[in-house]
């Protein structure tokens, strides 16, 4: 047999015991050819383009899942930023466009569709302003639509007017979905250096520089990495890094196989593999647990940033060799509500917002799925965003925030978002005001790329 007995059992064990899966197969789709200044016509074009192009998405993914015996958890769609697609409508009927996207997603059977988005790192167009103002309404009247706003980049700096605006948008979105603990905010990401080929929600959109349509794959497998560490006790960090690299290679190969085959069957370009460790609220499927297995009593104690840095680098180095095309967010995710280890660490008082912020400087994405007190001011939320955007801008990496000010809840209470979004204890923030800082507005200029100390 070409593959030996133990190798086959290793794969079977990864799938059965360690919850190896493909986290998402995301069809990324250009909507620029749908543009029309008449909102009704635009909606028809969008609905028809999505439902025609993605009509076989679910069937194809289900076939692959069965053929290879690899669970594929999510099937999703990312579309061109709607701020640009709907700009000709002069801000009219954005709610109806959001509903059209929701209906198209429902029709083809995907649980989330990303791209209700605007890119405003340097400034706003009139279409951007209309879209951003419509986000709270759009997220409260739809189930599947996800929104993202890129407010900063290493090349452009930080648009602090946009940062200020997003604080208010997040508060309003939480308020409009208060009966579900502000779940609308779980579908809203604020980015610095947003990738154009990200398969993961809520921040996925089809970038302007992308092909007509592509399949992007988000891999996963925190449980597999954790087991690999567990099964190799007492290693020094050099050897530990090697173990993680080898495991990441194997996980990524499965993503590459599924991606190639899905693209072929759907008749679109094979896009990228996103080399990410994405936790879920299922026991054992946790990034925090991996860090703890390295020897930390709790995720969040001193040493956590170093452990995460090692993990993130090793996952990328192992994965890069396994795929012909890497992209998206590629790194470890630390979405608090979706990771039982993170939740436990916050409850134990071991993990603070400050440590989470430090962790985001060495890993993927940022302050993700963090429940904050309902009475947090819009300016404080903007200030948290500004800090996070600064880390991304200066370090030339993607950072983001997905903060949920949970209406009516205080520090120590628990918010529940349901399903894959999980639940989280409300985390403590600084009691002091950032209002005068945020009220300044304007732009924090882009950094220089030399003298980088």
């Amino acid at each position: 047999m070409l593959i030996n007995h133990n190798e086959i059992l290793e794969t079977v064990n990864m799938l059965r015991q360690e919850k190896l899966d493909i986290r998402t197969v995301t069809l990324s789709l250009n909507l620029r050819d749908c543009q029309d200044s008449r909102p009704a016509k635009l909606q028809r074009n969008i609905y028809s383009k999505i439902t025609n192009t993605a009509k076989n998405l679910i069937a194809v993914v289900d076939e692959l899942e069965s053929k290879y015996g690899v669970p594929i958890i999510n099937k999703r769609i990312a579309v061109s930023p709607i701020s640009a697609i709907a700009e000709g409508c002069k801000g009219k009927d954005l709610r109806s466009i959001a509903i059209t996207l929701d209906e198209a997603a429902d029709k083809v059977g995907v649980d989330f569709l990303g791209g209700y988005s605007a890119l405003v790192q340097k400034g706003f167009t009139s279409g951007d302003v209309s879209l951003i103002d419509s986000i709270p309404d759009a997220l409260s009247v739809t189930e599947r639509v996800c929104s993202s706003v890129n407010v900063a980049s290493t090349k452009a700096g930080i648009n602090m007017d946009a940062v200020k605006k997003m604080g208010g948008v997040i508060k309003e979105t939480a308020e409009m979905t208060r009966d579900q603990d502000g779940v609308g905010c779980a579908k809203l990401v604020v980015f610095c250096n947003a990738p154009e080929d990200n398969p993961f929600m809520a921040g996925a959109y089809h970038g302007i520089g992308e092909a007509e349509a592509a399949v992007n794959i988000g891999i996963s497998g925190p449980g597999v990495i954790r087991s690999a560490i567990e099964n190799s006790p007492g290693l020094d960090f050099t050897s530990l890094s090697e173990i993680i690299k080898k495991t990441s290679f194997k996980i990524t190969r499965v993503g590459e196989l599924i991606g190639r085959e899905a693209a072929k069957r759907l008749g679109v370009t094979m896009g990228i593999i996103d080399l990410s460790l994405a936790p879920t609220p299922t026991a054992g499927d946790s990034v925090a647990l991996i860090l703890e297995k390295m020897g930390l009593e709790y995720c969040g104690c001193h040493g956590t940033t170093a452990a995460l840095a090692l993990l993130n680098e090793a996952v990328k180095k192992g994965g890069l060799f396994a795929t012909s095309s890497t992209g998206g967010l590629s790194g470890s995710f630390i979405p608090v509500s979706e990771d039982l280890g993170m939740v436990k660490a916050i409850k134990a008082g071991a993990l603070s917002i400050d440590k989470l912020e430090a962790m985001t400087s060495v890993c993927s994405v940022g302050l993700d799925m963090i429940a904050v007190p309902g009475d947090t001011t819009a300016e404080t939320i903007s200030a948290i965003i500004a800090d996070e955007m600064s880390i991304g801008m200066i370090n030339d990496k993607t950072t983001a925030t997905r903060l949920i000010p949970v209406p009516g809840k205080k520090v120590g209470e628990v918010a529940n978002f349901g399903g894959l979004l999980g639940g989280a204890p409300i985390i403590k923030l600084s009691d002091h005001s950032s209002k005068d800082f945020i009220d300044r507005g304007g732009r924090i200029p882009a950094p220089i790329r030399s003298l980088t100390n």
């Binding site: 007995h5 190798e7 059992l9 015996g69 590459e256 060799f321």
Partner: protein
């Protein structure tokens, strides 16, 4: 792409496992090209490389059939296209 699957069988050892699994495959014109089995303590593990080009049923149906057989015998049986192993373990 070849049409070969890997069938794995794991569970408590008992008489007739090989006969029953290979019988089910033979009944559906699936050709076993390679087979390996080991016994560790009391746990039986068997791996079969099976060509299904001439199979009478589709891979999904074969999978369901073997899963049901597994349930009946209290064994864990998996059926996967061989490429997933080839991709993961060979560059």
């Amino acid at each position: 792409m070849s049409s070969k699957i890997i069938v794995t069988v794991l569970g408590k050892d008992q008489s007739g496992i090989v006969a029953k699994v290979s019988g089910a495959l033979a009944n559906n014109s699936c050709n076993i090209e390679d087979i390996s089995q080991t016994l560790m303590d009391d746990i039986f593990s068997m791996i079969m490389l099976v060509a299904i080009d001439e199979a009478k049923i589709k891979i999904d149906e074969l999978k369901n059939l073997l899963l049901k057989l597994g349930e009946k015998l209290n064994l864990k049986i998996t059926v996967q296209h061989e490429d997933v192993f080839r991709f993961m373990h060979r560059v």
